[in-house]
């Protein structure tokens, strides 16, 4: 027999001004199973909580209903109080007399009647509550970081420095990501390589970090605290243990005309290569697509010249499996190749380049050693046009969103150009300048005021080539859309930032949700900016949306903090409000028929198949089982189950049924 305590809160006058709290308590006392019912000015106050605790102890209550404010506010408070008094916290329920009653209705009998109904509902529900224990999940304190750009580097170092093991997976031959390609960084104009390279080296040397370069996530199983990640180590054709990074191989490789990805096609590389001189690890890999040996079976020059015999042809990809407790996704972004803008002639005219290509031209380590020279003939361009929003804010051909970083990097490009080419003319076509950030607006103003970049408000309609010049046709909308035609030597398109290739596939592998542009989705856009909807998987950097370096690093440290927080305990506790499949005593009495409709419906892959065997070890049936580590307690499966074999703790069929009948005051 239940012994329920009902505690009606006045909330000062918030409730009692419209609800007759005393009457509510009196009526509640009349309900079957209610042992004690009283009202008090502030239930959540210390004295209020003491009243509840004492009632539990004195009357031996089996359940508590607090009629006060929204459970979204104080449910944890009262459950904690009950636990302190020795009552299972999940035997405590709240009913909302404030937000759902006193604040939204006039003072009259009906309002008090409603309050009584609300209390009755929860009393009937609480009678059917069962003591629940928090779910404890062990945590393996090792993190997997996917992506070795600045975001992944920062997150890995933060986690590793907190004393935890980190597996860093990078799909390219070297870590460093897009940041390693940049020349200078806004708004301080410090050299990108100079600030990044020490971090890359730190990663390579950190005792807590295992770096898998040239590797990709193959598959992921498990759940928070207990993921099992299989990683594909793509065959490098070079044994990293034997290789000393001397460079004899790539100096002798006969295939020298492969457009370098690192130099955005403006420079060339060999078939056996390291992406760039400061690469970490600084050991080459063979690009099988372009290697003579892999293409036609002849060559092997690298093998001959290698002093340590590190070249190993025809080795298959390998796989490693790592058990990790948390995952940080730091897969970054990609730059949209603006060839979908036929009117700008990218791909058709050699001197129409992307912003990232300009970075390589301006970079001291780039193909021109930092001199601005146009790709077609190597001449120093005297007139350069920069076109902002080449792809961004263009639902028709590009992407509808603002790529956020382009205004700043375009200002930087104009500035770098003016610094490097004295007497050069730069024109920036823009629509709006988005320079929200510390010292950002000042930076753009400097480009205009001090370095003399000519900013024209308007979008370019078309570019065509004539006599070695690029004719750029635009308007100045601030002069009543007056036509502006510039004969430029080079055009730089501020191409949009988009989700990295393979983002969708990766998200599906990991069950992380993503937005229509394939950027990974945060659990909450404001309050959970580095979490995903899948517990234990965190996000940082430009895989969420285009981000500049400061924001990327901030989110990386944020994600790392979440991981470190998770690793601060040996076990994870979770609310036990999860689904369960009925299994009284032994397996075979489960009424589950194993149709697995619930499995299709579950958004969390929390439903597993469990084989029920007889004594002879033969499988007699397969039934569903809920993995409490994965289940988030939505209960969608419950309403699918035809035989009602699956139920959800805390919102069980019996409880909800009782609540509905009680609302309508049906005994």
């Amino acid at each position: 027999m239940s012994k329920i305590g009902v505690f009606v809160c006045h909330c000062g006058e918030n409730i009692s001004a419209t609800v007759d709290c005393k009457k509510v308590a009196e009526e509640a006392a009349k309900l079957t199973g209610v042992e004690v019912s009283l009202d008090y000015k502030y239930m959540c106050s210390d004295p209020g909580q003491t009243i509840i605790k004492e009632a539990i102890k004195e009357k031996g209550l089996t359940g508590v209903v607090v009629a006060a404010c929204s459970p979204r506010m104080h449910e944890p408070t009262f459950r904690k109080a009950c636990a302190e008094a020795g009552l299972n916290p999940f035997m405590c329920e709240m009913t909302n007399l404030r937000e759902h009653c006193s604040w939204v209705h006039e003072k009259n009998d009906q309002t008090t009647e409603k309050a009584i109904d609300l209390v009755r509902m929860l009393v009937e529900k609480t009678k059917l509550n069962k003591p629940l224990n928090e779910i404890k999940v062990p945590v393996s304190k090792k993190a997997l970081v996917i992506g070795g750009g600045i975001a992944g580097i920062q997150a890995s170092l933060d986690i590793a420095n907190a004393g935890h093991q980190v597996i860093l997976v990078e799909k390219e031959a070297s870590i460093g990501g897009h940041m390693s390609q940049l020349s200078e960084t806004f708004p301080t104009l410090d050299c990108s390589q100079c600030i990044l390279t020490p971090r890359m080296v730190e990663v390579a040397q950190h005792p807590n970090i295992t770096l898998y370069n040239y590797a990709e996530l193959e598959s992921l199983d498990g759940f928070i605290g207990n993921f099992k990640a299989t990683i594909r180590l793509k065959a490098k054709s070079v044994d990293p243990k034997a290789c000393t990074g001397c460079g004899a191989c790539y100096n002798k490789c006969p295939k020298k005309k492969i457009p370098s990805e690192f130099n955005e096609g403006l420079g060339m590389r060999t078939a056996i290569y390291t992406p760039f001189p400061q690469a970490v690890p600084n050991k080459p890999v063979i690009d099988k697509e372009n290697c003579n040996y892999y293409k036609n079976g002849k060559c092997k020059i690298c093998e001959k010249v290698c002093p340590t015999g590190a070249i190993e042809f025809d080795k298959p990809d390998e796989f490693v499996t790592e058990n990790v407790g948390a995952i940080v996704l730091a897969t970054g972004f990609n730059v949209l190749k603006p060839d979908f803008f036929p009117e700008y002639g990218y791909g058709q005219f050699k001197d129409v380049i992307t912003g990232l290509q300009f970075e390589r031209l301006a970079s001291a380590s780039g193909p021109t050693l930092g001199e601005i020279r146009r790709p077609s003939d190597g001449k120093v361009p005297q007139k350069v046009v920069f076109i902002a929003c080449a792809g961004s804010r263009d639902p028709a051909k590009g992407i509808p969103y603002c790529s956020k970083i382009c205004c700043m990097y375009t200002a930087k490009h104009a500035m770098l150009y003016q610094h490097k080419v004295h007497g050069g003319e730069s024109t920036v076509f823009y629509m709006d300048i988005r320079a929200g950030g510390k010292n950002y607006e000042e930076f753009v103003r400097r480009a205009i005021e001090e370095d003399g970049a000519n900013y024209v408000r308007g979008r370019v309609a078309r570019i065509y080539e004539k006599d070695g010049k690029l004719i750029v046709k635009g308007v100045d909308t601030l002069l009543g859309a007056k036509p502006v035609e510039i004969e430029a030597d080079m055009v730089v398109l501020a191409s949009a930032g988009v989700a990295n290739c393979g983002a969708e596939e990766l998200a599906q592998k990991m069950h992380v949700s993503y937005d229509p542009y394939k950027f990974f989705a945060e659990a909450h856009p404001k309050l959970k900016p580095v979490e995903t909807n899948t517990a234990g998987i965190y996000l940082c950097g430009a895989c969420q949306a285009p981000k500049d370096i400061p924001d990327t690093v901030a989110t990386a440290s944020g994600a790392a903090a979440k991981v470190i927080g998770l690793f601060s305990k040996d076990e994870l506790t979770r609310e036990p409000l999860v689904a369960v499949v009925n299994r009284i005593a032994s397996h075979d009495v489960s009424t589950c028929v194993g149709c697995f409709m619930c499995q299709t419906a579950c958004p969390y892959q929390a439903i597993e198949r469990e084989e029920v065997k007889n004594r002879a070890g033969e499988v007699i049936k397969t039934v569903a089982r809920v993995n409490p580590g994965l289940c988030q307690g939505c209960g969608t499966c419950v309403s699918f189950c035809r035989s009602k074999s699956i139920d959800i703790q805390g919102f069980s069929n019996e409880q909800m049924y009782a609540e509905v009948l009680a609302v309508l005051n049906t005994p």
Binding site: E343, C389, R393, D394, P395, A396, K397, G398, M431, R457, G458, R459, V460, A461, R462, K473, G474, V475, D476, T477, G480, A481, P483, V484
Partner: protein, 182 residues
């Protein structure tokens, strides 16, 4: 709530929401006749966005709407795919209906009307009739005197109009779709 006014009328008749334009100016930059126009296309868009009747009047009375040659460069490049040519068509219809046609555009309007007249009666366009009608409307009697004889010579101007069998049907098409008077 959507604001009342011509913006919603435009939307209703053409499906175009002028507020989608964010004034990048790419239409004006690519427009073949920008520098002839009193208001370049992006300006027309801006004026329409104000939902201000004075501005609407200025658009309807402008020469711009008649100068648009429907070359479609604007809409193919517009990041928001705003169908400006369709909008211009609508403005022209409105301008005619509201009798606000710019004096400067008289030639163009006369040409369009003269072009349609022979079709109405014969089913096909007829250049001599067209030119004659056009000249009657514009009093540009001397125009093209230099070209016409050589056109005859080269067999480019048939002297008699072509007539089709379904003339009655064509006339009905004109009657049934008629909106405004000449």
């Amino acid at each position: 709530m959507e604001k009342q006014g011509y913006i919603s009328e435009i939307k209703e008749h053409t499906g175009i929401n002028v507020n989608r334009c964010y004034q990048c100016g790419k239409c004006s930059a690519g427009c073949a006749v920008t520098d002839e126009m009193d208001y370049p296309p992006s300006m027309v868009m801006r004026m329409l966005q104000t939902n201000d009747d004075e501005n609407y009047k200025s658009v309807l009375q402008s020469e711009s709407i008649w100068l648009c040659i429907t070359c479609q460069n604007c809409v193919t490049r517009c990041p928001m795919q705003i169908d400006i040519p369709r909008l211009m068509d609508y403005m022209r219809e409105q301008s005619l209906q509201k009798k606000m046609v710019s004096k400067k555009a008289k030639n163009i309007v006369s040409f369009h009307k003269s072009f349609l007249d022979p079709i109405r009666f014969t089913g096909r366009s007829y250049e001599i009739g067209l030119v004659a009608g056009y000249k009657m409307r514009t009093f540009n009697l001397l125009q093209d005197l230099n070209v016409a004889p050589s056109m005859f010579m080269k067999g480019k101007l048939p002297i008699l109009p072509e007539r089709i069998e379904g003339r009655k049907q064509i006339k009905e098409i004109f009657d049934k779709t008629k909106k405004e008077d000449k």
